[in-house]
């Protein structure tokens, strides 16, 4: 552990915009893909029924 406080962690040594801009977008896209897949599966099963 090398941050000391949560404020320091979130600040990312002044690079917060770049680091969190990368991590948050990646996370949102992966969650979105999983939601799209779940919906596609539901629709496919509906279609068959």
């Amino acid at each position: 552990m090398n941050w000391g406080s949560w404020q320091n962690f979130l600040a990312m040594g002044g690079y917060a915009v770049y680091v969190w801009g990368s991590y948050v977008v990646t996370f949102v896209l992966i969650v979105a893909e999983l939601l799209v897949l779940a919906r596609r599966k539901r629709n496919a099963v509906e279609l068959i029924r």
Partner: protein, 248 residues
């Protein structure tokens, strides 16, 4: 049953469908564990880089995503070639299932690369060989998906997509080798893995664990999509009907 027959046994959607479901579950669980460990190492254990400060922490998603973007394209081209050679339905379904996840990782690689380039090189984008060929990779994925979506007959859509995937595979070595040239051009800005041994070890460990996490995520997402495609294309078959009723 000979080995060859067994191979073709799993090449039928009916037999592959339940196997893909089990594999997707295990790969998804492995991805969650690996990414949790990788992020912990990358964000909490790995020290601040001497040259780049904390901006370098983008590496833990950027490099795994960039590797995945190329790896998934090669896999897609492999299944496309297998589909053309053996005319197996499942091969084309796998190629179709790979494209959106490949495009996703390509976009993540470009996005995070841009967010890393700005603080380290001072620019969001340059038209160098590496960035341009990675952008072309994104357009190849989009082109594959658009082409398949534009053709109504699934068999013709499969063949047209497979040809595009195969032609586009020449782009992958261009990206790969431009990365090698890119790192020699931008030596000052790249992460120094030789600076301090303990530092290099945690950075490398975090990056490799995230890479395995992204691998397992990619496999899980592709298998889940392959299951959707199998259900959609074989919606009139007995096995799909039994499955749809079974989960009611």
């Amino acid at each position: 049953m000979t080995a060859q027959m067994k191979w073709f046994w799993y090449a039928s959607p009916q037999t592959f469908f339940p196997l893909a479901g089990v594999l997707a579950r295990w790969c998804g669980a492995a991805a969650a564990v690996l990414c949790a460990v990788g992020l912990y190492i990358g964000l909490f254990v790995a020290p601040t880089d001497a040259q780049q400060g904390d901006a370098y922490r983008i590496i833990f998603i950027h490099v795994p995503a960039a590797w995945m973007s190329m790896f998934l394209y090669v896999l897609m081209a492999f299944w496309a070639a297998a589909g053309l050679a053996f005319n197996t339905r499942l091969s084309h379904m796998m190629a179709s299932a790979l494209a959106p996840t490949g495009a996703l990782f390509t976009f993540i690689a470009l996005w995070t690369g841009s967010f890393w380039g700005k603080p380290t090189w001072g620019t969001w984008w340059v038209w160098d060989a590496r960035l341009t060929s990675e952008l072309i990779l994104l357009f190849l994925y989009f082109g594959f998906m658009a082409l398949q979506a534009a053709i109504d007959d699934p068999r013709r859509a499969d063949k047209a997509g497979a040809l595009l995937a195969l032609v586009g595979v020449v782009n992958v070595p261009i990206i790969y080798f431009s990365v090698v040239w890119g790192y020699t051009m931008n030596k000052g800005a790249s992460v120094s893995l030789t600076k301090a041994p303990s530092m290099a070890a945690t950075m490398l460990a975090g990056m490799l664990i995230m890479t395995f996490g992204f691998w397992f995520y990619g496999i899980a997402a592709v298998l889940l999509r392959a299951r959707c495609i199998m259900l959609e294309r074989e919606h009139a078959s007995d096995w799909a009907g039994r499955y749809a009723k079974g989960i009611a």
